[in-house]
Symmetry: C2
Subunit: 480 residues, 2 copies
């Protein structure tokens, strides 16, 4: 490593030694986000927002392809509406930002800045839905929500965050459940195929469900510090909100019934997971399918600057047809500085081109995950780069999957479980009788929480706590 | 008109006789928007939101092509920051929704739900901008803002509305002014080329500037009731916000200078203008370039239903490659009902296809603006439909332009001006000496406000009020 590179990298703490500091430094230095003058609220900077736009674009296309349409509901929820579903208000009220004044006037009723929008959407459904012909309603919105958090971390926990929230209404329970699973599968593809983050897919135990849900499906990822992070949720709300808000329809059989509803979301928190999953001591690592810049071209001018620059421009133009390309022709920085800068920003592929490369019709291709270098011909460079991008995408997923696989352990006793959590061995598999007392005992002893009940697993034989027959398999972990 | 059609249309009041009621009925019936349980806040329904998505997509592409990047800044502005620029706070404070509590705790400082974001963005610029190399900063965000309005109308005036807000910082005054004009031209293209709404382009007089701006560029459209509507604004903020928030940079000449900033926006209010500009007594009228559904195919099944349906499906598939097409194969409605329904929703082109059409390899093409019908061959139908869409686009613009041209009048005396405003003759051109007293006199006498000072017009000879030499031409109108 050159002195320049050392100086550059020095500003980022070691990921292995101080994970939390490393994380914050990468978010700030790569200009993904910044702290704002408002406690708990962050600014998402253009490079971070481009990641969110990528997530939005990918998801929105799939939502539309599966029959969903987009709408926009108000930012505010009157207190009386928030209170209609008892568990819902209990879950959210402690975290609500309250608007009490409009201009100089005190409002007659406080307005919550939406922490989630069920309570404002359901009254509209009551108005819009009369007949089975009006169903299903498959809506979503892209917006921000506010939950008044005391301690915050960039992307991972902020008082305001960006998300979409889907809100659907159906004739039958089965159809609503199928909707939840359709969305869950879209989320899984986003996580694994785009963000290269492998996930465990399943249900939450009742204690971890969304406030007001009959069932919460979840995707759980494991971060390099062996803490789990909830990557997305899809809630089967049953008829609870329909009853609370009186959303009924006349069915084919001429009887009035309550609709079955769902809600689902992923948030800008995903960007935090992305940073943690793939970054290293040189900075950010971005899988090509989400990278705003997939290929950076750094010309090394030497004595024949104009010729090299011309070749670099021609290369950028060719590659622009197959990838998001940036030509870094800034003259105030050295090539070495640029290499470090773009590595820090996680650009998957770097192409270096100097006078000798131009003469030999070649370029040096460097892959971000391992820094591997290869001299490649400019003939067929489009195919070479496309293949290299696929390779980098695969590398990130394979690495993360290997880490996850190596951090799925099983515990047969409480002592096993305690040790596994303490030693950061990852997701710890346990049998559970589904009694709340047994879950509470584990939480208290380990500080871990039950993250996910896999959909297809055969249950373990016995409950780890009480020894009675197990009816479910649960993965425990400490969590973000 | 059939009885069915009469019954259908009857629900929409006459545009000529009761414009305001007509407007609201069209917004509600075409399912663009609905009232929400929160006073002053509306719900934008999927069909209305699709219009907003169209505006977003078109603008975002142009913003990116002109070097702008997207970010996200917090929803809240601490009161102390809002107060930093004196005119700014004076302009916005009366309309602010204040958050005073987070959960059960009273906040130490009130937070404004952003009415606009200068006061939260400038402190970040102070942090990010050090050198001329950091400039220009060309940022925007897509978000909602809140202005506590007492009396509201769907899209036109609501307590919360959707918009983007651009916020740029520059080395020189000229560069900032050029940025304002670049954006103004993008807005003009959106209005005229996409939404088919002709506009007057120019500057606001000082009384109508954005609170805190040195100059506000504006686009003004004229609605069919002869009221003007501000369609977009681009503000040259000079160094006022830079001074208030201490945003300085080290220039090439090694001296510290304040940056020059701009801000600019168009909002979901545009959808209201679109409804007013092109709708009629049958409902909404949408120019093809913004219509979410450009072509609807209505099969008329007759006795050979399957064959007609097959032909309609094949037609939809062919046209799907050149236009946004909807095949209306619902069996619970008659063709006549569907004709009225899609007309009410403003779909530019309807294709009817029945058994005889299938046999003759033809379809009946109906254009929404004038209801004109033509039997056209299925051979080359893609080209026929593409040309018809262009024709409908042109028709809407030509009509609106003819209306505007017919409603630009000149006044030489106060009596002229009063009569012109009273008789709803549109934009009334006047000479102005640029004294505030003269403007105030006109406002008081006519209830009209000065909408725009054209950029290129030769000034009139004398001020309409005081008779002194005029230094500017001003168009007056009553306004939304």
């Amino acid at each position: 490593m050159t002195t320049e590179a050392q100086a550059f990298v020095k500003e980022i703490p070691s990921k292995a030694e101080s994970f939390a500091d490393w994380y914050t430094a990468v978010c700030l230095k790569a200009e993904l986000a910044d702290y704002s003058p408002i406690r708990g609220c962050m600014v998402i900077r253009p490079y971070g927002y481009a990641l969110w736009e990528g997530i939005q674009r990918w998801l929105d296309e799939r939502f539309k392809a599966t029959g969903h349409v987009t709408a926009y509901f108000p930012l505010f929820v009157p207190e009386s509406l928030l209170q209609k579903e008892a568990e819902h208000v209990e879950g959210f009220a402690p975290q609500v930002a309250w608007v009490t004044h409009g201009g100089d006037e005190e409002l007659s009723e406080r307005l919550a800045v939406r922490p989630t929008s069920e309570a404002i959407i359901m009254p509209m459904y009551a108005k819009w839905i009369q007949s089975y012909r009006d169903l299903p309603v498959l809506l979503l919105q892209w917006n921000s929500v506010v939950r008044w958090e005391k301690s915050t971390r960039l992307f991972l926990r902020t008082a305001e965050f960006l998300w979409h929230e889907g809100h659907t209404a159906h004739v039958t329970s089965d159809e609503a459940d199928q909707e939840c699973r359709t969305i869950l599968e879209i989320y899984r593809q986003l996580l694994e195929d785009v963000l290269a983050i492998p996930v465990l897919v399943g249900k939450k135990p009742p204690s971890e469900r969304f406030a007001g849900a009959d069932n919460t499906y979840t995707l759980e990822a494991l971060m390099p510090d062996s803490q789990a992070i909830q990557a997305g949720t899809s809630h089967f709300l049953g008829q609870r909100f329909a009853r609370a808000f009186n959303v009924k329809f006349l069915d084919r059989d001429n009887t009035e019934k309550y609709v079955w509803t769902t809600s689902w979301a992923v948030s800008s928190r995903l960007i935090g997971s992305l940073v943690m999953a793939h970054g290293d001591d040189r900075g950010l690592g971005l899988p090509p399918r989400i990278a705003p810049i997939q290929v950076v071209i750094v010309p090394i001018l030497g004595r024949d600057g104009e010729r090299v620059l011309g070749a670099a421009r021609a290369l950028a133009e060719r590659l622009g047809k197959v990838a998001h390309v940036r030509l870094d022709d800034r003259d105030e920085y050295t090539p070495g500085w640029k290499f470090n800068d773009w590595e820090m920003r996680g650009v998957p592929i770097r192409l270096e081109i100097g006078p000798r490369d131009v003469a030999a019709r070649q370029t040096v291709l460097v892959k971000r995950p391992d820094g591997s270098k290869a001299t490649v011909s400019l003939d067929g460079i489009e195919q070479t780069v496309a293949a290299a991008l696929e390779d980098v995408q695969r590398t990130y997923f394979t690495r993360a999957k290997a880490f996850l696989d190596a951090h799925m352990v099983e515990a047969k006793t409480m002592a096993d479980l305690e040790a596994a959590i303490r030693d950061r061995r990852g997701f710890v598999k346990t049998g559970w009788c589904q009694e709340q007392a047994c879950e509470d005992a584990i939480r208290e002893r380990t500080g871990a929480s039950p993250r996910v009940i896999p959909l297809d697993d055969e249950p373990e034989e016995t409950c780890l706590v009480c020894g009675r027959p197990a009816t479910a398999t649960v993965y425990y972990a400490r969590a973000y």
